[in-house]
């Protein structure tokens, strides 16, 4: 099958990934629960124990979806291998981090290495498009920026995975916008891969939404973040992705700057939010507490966890729309 069958291809990738992730999530959850790999849902009075590391189901779904994609579109094997290779390496780092927490500096360094398949297979174009300018020649610098990009996206998504459904919900919105832009840009091969990520996120959101029955863990968040970064590079939509990720960058950048540097979240003793007796959350009033997106949302008064996540998703929808608008500006100025 060739590029002219892209709509069927995109549909197949979406469906297969969705079904595989949806089927794998409860199986992975049961396996984790039986092994005692669980985490406490800290934003609930009941302190429920929820199976951790279920992001493994996302990895399984994406891997199956990508294999099927390669079978239906053999010409895109190189891009697909670079994409899934990056996702799997980031996922492996996530697994290590979930089982034996990594240091605050080690994690970003290791996630930067996830870009190796992109570099080795040469599936990047060192001429990124910048608004108002057009294409910029960065043949020497661009390969150096790739590991940074993967480390930033994976760790930003990781830092957003703090409440029920916040990670898959916001990433699904961003991926939907990216899919639209990739189709608009006629980057059909990358669009098919984006449809796989969208499907995996929708399937995982079903289980991870409030009240969560599964937690993705760092396995899920690091791999999903790396997937976003890989899509941005493969599809040549770097600038647009930065705009769509504004809430996530906001969350991680404020968090890091307020605690003065790279710190593992387990090292930060003061929480950005507090759980009230009535089950609502409120912004911490401690001066040294990290400034996160959740704290900014809650600064206007207490809210339930579900409403905080809804606010995060609305803000992500706004930034994704700005991303689409940015692409429109880029196309118009060209």
């Amino acid at each position: 099958m060739l590029d002219n069958n892209w709509a069927i291809n995109l549909g197949i990738t979406f469906t297969v990934t969705f079904v595989a992730t949806f089927a794998a999530t409860p199986i992975v959850a049961n396996a984790m629960r039986s092994r005692g790999i669980t985490g406490v849902d800290i934003h609930k009075k009941s302190k429920t124990k929820v199976p951790e590391m279920c992001g493994l189901a996302v990895l399984i779904g994406l891997a199956i979806g990508t294999i099927v994609y390669c079978l239906t579109m053999p010409l895109a094997v190189r891009e697909a291998t670079a994409f899934i290779g990056t996702v799997l390496i980031a996922g492996a780092i996530g697994i290590i981090d979930d089982l034996h927490p990594l240091g605050a500096r080690t994690k970003p360094l290791l996630t930067a290495l996830a870009c190796v398949p992109i570099l080795v297979l040469g599936t990047y174009v060192p001429y990124p498009d910048i608004p108002f300018y057009g294409t910029v020649r960065l043949t020497i610098v661009y390969p150096i920026l790739i590991p940074i990009a993967i480390a930033v996206t994976s760790n930003s998504i990781n830092m957003m995975d703090v409440m029920n459904g916040s990670m898959p919900g916001t990433v699904a919105i961003i991926t939907f916008a990216m899919l639209g832009i990739l189709l608009w840009a006629s980057e059909l091969r990358t669009a098919s891969l984006a449809s796989g990520l969208l499907a995996a996120m929708l399937a995982f959101f079903y289980f991870n939404r409030f009240p969560s029955r599964v937690f993705g863990g760092d396995t899920g968040s690091l791999s999903v973040g790396a997937a976003l970064g890989a899509l941005a590079i493969l599809g040549r939509i770097e600038a647009v992705t930065v705009v769509a990720l504004i809430p996530h960058i906001m969350n991680s950048f404020y968090g890091l700057s307020s605690v003065r540097g790279l710190r593992e979240r387990r090292e930060i003793l003061q929480r950005p939010t507090e759980l009230l007796d009535n089950g609502l959350l409120r912004a911490s009033n401690q001066k040294g507490a990290p400034v996160t997106l959740a704290r900014l949302i809650l600064a206007a008064g207490p809210l339930g966890e579900k409403d905080v996540v809804r606010a995060m998703m609305i803000l992500t929808a706004v930034s994704s729309l700005l991303g689409v608008f940015t692409y429109w500006i880029m196309v118009s100025v060209k």
Binding site: I246, N285, A299, I314, V318, T326
Partner: protein, 83 residues
């Protein structure tokens, strides 16, 4: 949800400043050139372009942080949750 509006406004502000900075980068930083004849010249050109752009991006991040800090302190003060 009324509380989202100011945060969405911060997003739009951040986006607008980002576009403004890319405009400045496209008009000034990208024009910096030390020649392209040798590898050293090419590396010097791209490094200086990158440094200038990185500085402008740092300004963008600082402006972003200032606005968010202002929002947070005001909201915590108005809603009586300040320490």
């Amino acid at each position: 949800m009324k509380r989202i509006l100011p945060l969405a406004a911060i997003e739009v502000f951040v986006w607008f400043v980002l576009l403004l900075i890319t405009f400045v980068i496209s008009k000034e930083a990208i024009e910096i050139s030390f020649g392209t004849a040798t590898l050293v010249e090419r590396i010097a050109t791209q490094t200086v372009r990158l440094l200038v752009s990185a500085t402008l991006i740092l300004v963008w991040l600082l402006a972003w942080k200032k606005v968010a800090d202002l929002y947070l302190s005001r909201m915590l003060f108005h809603h009586g949750t300040n320490a």
